[in-house]
Amino acid sequence: MAVVKPEMKSYIWLQTADGSIQQVEEEVAMYCPMICREVLQTGMGSSKNYAISLPQRVNAAILGLILDYCRFHQVAGRSNKERKIFDEKFIRLDTKKLCELTSAADSLQLRPLVDLTSRALARMIEGKTPEEIRETFHLPDDLTEEEKLEPLRNMTDDPRIRLLNRLYARKRKELKEREKLKNVEAEEEQHVDERSVDDLLCFINGADEDSKCARAPKSKKKNRRRKEQAKSSSTNNETGNHNQESNCPTSSCLNGDVPSPSKPSELQDSASVKFSSKLDFDDGDIDEELDPAMKEEIDREVEDFARRLNSVWPERIEEILSLGQERRPLSVNGNGSLKRCTAGLDGR
């Protein structure tokens, strides 16, 4: 037990996930709601043997930071300005520390610190390009290019989006190579997953295996059939019977989303590519048993459409010349580029 000092200071003992134990002045530790509750409800923390175990997200170094924060703020007499100045200095940490700090503060229920760190992290996201954000947080760039283009897009006028598109166009080749390499592996795994789900479905419904459970991307003809079934009349999606442009966007399957074919036409009005195939509406299609396969096909079409829609014109010309039999989608979007109409290629 702590020796009774003349000032009668009392300490709370805290143990972090890595096993190290430290003692902290009582008033500082009690500033954390979680610690406060532990002390009051269970009486723990009064000695080394009964140290309060902190949540796993709090390691010793971060605990030090948190205690600094508590030590400053628990003093009642400080002015708002002082606190603000302290806060501003306090969050000048590297990103890794900041994230760990947010996580730790959240697990200790120290709301003001969570808000402070969230704001700092928000500042790192606001107004930055995706590349910058990925760089900051070490995020894997694991969406395929087309997937990236799917989500909500407000305007292609946005200079950032245009820049993105150009970057994507340049990196397309890189991606292609990399995907090819990854594909072999990735597909094996995904293949397994797909197959097991499909097998189950087939088994349950006793349908014949090959058309429904096979992986669609391998076969163009099957895709075409399914596509026809799936299309709603007003959609602008065209057949992207293209090639090994991308690997199979099966991420959605893996995640358990069940995207469905392009949904209500109101979405498609302005014909900028939106997130048609990734919506979580699958009511109409459960009985068809074609979901996994159709999904992929639709995904690819959409992605292709999106890609084309958004790629820079010169690259498009290149592509057209090299690939030959693609259709050009109707494109009416805000930046005034009008219909790049198909030259009546495929008979679709």
Binding site: C99, T102, A122, E126, P140, L152
Partner: protein
């Protein structure tokens, strides 16, 4: 690309933290996080606060395209959203068309909406669809420039704490019913209503904010009111109405607010209160009233002066008084200055009054007498700040001299004469 060059720092944080971060960035940026990586695809879609304002606009020369895109953006965001939406704010000078707005509101009413703020268009009014009245969990409602017509089977917002209606067209009876059918209402703001007669019954109301042309305001059941702020404008017919109304407005308005702590009244507020006010009766004492701010008090109108005096005498714990004089000067030269000697009880003391700030001071006899009165009866006064109106420049020195000669009950009192910057 750099999957290996450093562990992902942020994607595995709990969703509550991600939300905490994403609601601090403009919605457009939040939605854009969906292309960062696989895990981030739908992180934005479960945030519970959606704020659409000018940060969501992509600039374009053609206004109709901007407007169209904003509408599309909102529709798609809502459509893609997953989970409850607790706060929806739409703040833009563009006016979405009625079908869009109605659909959004219908959608939100099914999503446990708690805070709804709609401020759209600059000159047009939108008609609030009936689904707004059937958002059961609403705690916070702000509507600007809309037409409200509560349906007959509307039973009230049982959890509403904050209601703010600005330039809203609503039948007067309905607004009373609306207010009284929100039992938890704590804060009420009504702005720019025309010729309103209103009785407010809100047993939990703490903050009341009124601005506009009011004919008659009655606070009938508002025992918890802590802060009142009123800016009363006048039109000619209201002025006539004032002369004819019966009963004491002071009592009707401030008669039932014993817990009042802050009172702010602008423009014609004191005039409104002066109607029917009888001199010398102070039935209600405001024990908690610490701060009074009155703008544009006409020191030439004895009745208004009486209202001011009644207010401060009924507030034994008043600490700060800010008062500004109305700049309307008449040519009347007869001032009943005897009033200060004879009629007014000379033994009242403002035992807590510390700061008095008087602006637009033009040296009217009653103004000077008022200052003298305050100086003489405020034993703990620390600051008396007087700022003359810009129109009176030649009398300044004389006034200053006069002021400084008044007897001060407080040894600490400093009298400052400030030339306020224009």
């Amino acid at each position: 690309m750099d999957t290996d060059s450093g562990r992902d720092l942020i994607s595995d944080l709990p969703q509550s933290i991600i939300e905490s971060i994403l609601i601090k960035v403009p919605l457009l940026d939040a939605v854009r996080t969906s292309i960062l990586s696989r895990k981030w695809r739908y992180k934005w879609a479960t945030i519970t606060q959606l704020v659409f304002n000018d940060t969501c606009l992509i600039p374009c020369n053609d206004k109709s395209i901007v407007s169209c895109n904003l509408v599309n953006f909102i529709t798609r965001c809502l459509f893609l959203h997953d989970g409850p939406i607790h706060k929806f704010e739409l703040n833009t000078s563009y006016s979405p068309t009625s079908p869009d707005l109605d659909q959004w509101l219908l959608f939100l009413s099914r999503k446990d909406i708690k805070e709804l703020i709609i401020d759209i268009g600059e000159d047009d009014w939108f008609r609030a669809p009936s689904c707004v009245f059937f958002c059961p969990k609403l705690t916070h409602l702000v509507l600007v420039r809309c037409e409200l017509n509560p349906p007959p089977n509307f039973k009230g917002f049982l959890y509403l704490k904050h209601l703010s209606l600005q330039q809203v067209i609503i039948p007067p009876h309905d607004i009373e019913v609306l207010i009284s059918s929100c039992p938890l209402l704590e804060s009420l703001t009504l702005s720019y209503f025309d010729s309103l007669e209103l009785t407010i019954r809100a047993p939990n109301l703490k903050y009341l904010n009124l601005e506009g042309e009011f004919k008659d305001i009655r606070l009938e059941n508002t025992p918890c009111l802590v802060g009142i702020s009123v800016a009363m404008y006048m039109t000619d017919d209201i002025a006539e109405h004032f002369e004819q109304s019966s009963g004491c407005n002071f009592d009707k308005f401030l008669g039932g607010v014993p817990c009042l702590e802050r009172l702010i009244g602008h423009i014609y507020f004191t005039k409104y209160l002066s109607i029917g006010n009888e001199q010398g009766s102070f039935p209600v004492i405001y024990q908690n009233l610490k701060f009074i701010e009155l703008y544009q008090v006409s020191f030439e109108d004895m009745k208004e002066l009486l209202v001011v005096l009644r207010m401060i005498v009924s507030s034994p714990n008043l600490e700060e008084l800010q008062i500004s004089s109305s700049s309307i000067t008449t040519t009347a030269d007869i001032y009943d200055l005897d009033f200060w000697e004879k009629d007014w009880p000379a033994d009242c003391t403002f035992s807590k009054l510390k700061i008095v700030h008087m602006t637009d001071f033009s040296g009217l006899p009653h103004e000077i007498a008022f200052i003298k009165f305050l100086l003489g009866h405020s034993p703990v006064l620390e600051q008396m700040i007087v700022a003359p109106t810009i129109y009176v420049t030649d009398k300044v020195v004389k006034m200053l001299i006069d002021l400084l000669t008044f007897r001060r009950a407080s040894p600490l009192a400093t009298v400052k004469f400030v030339q306020e910057p224009l």
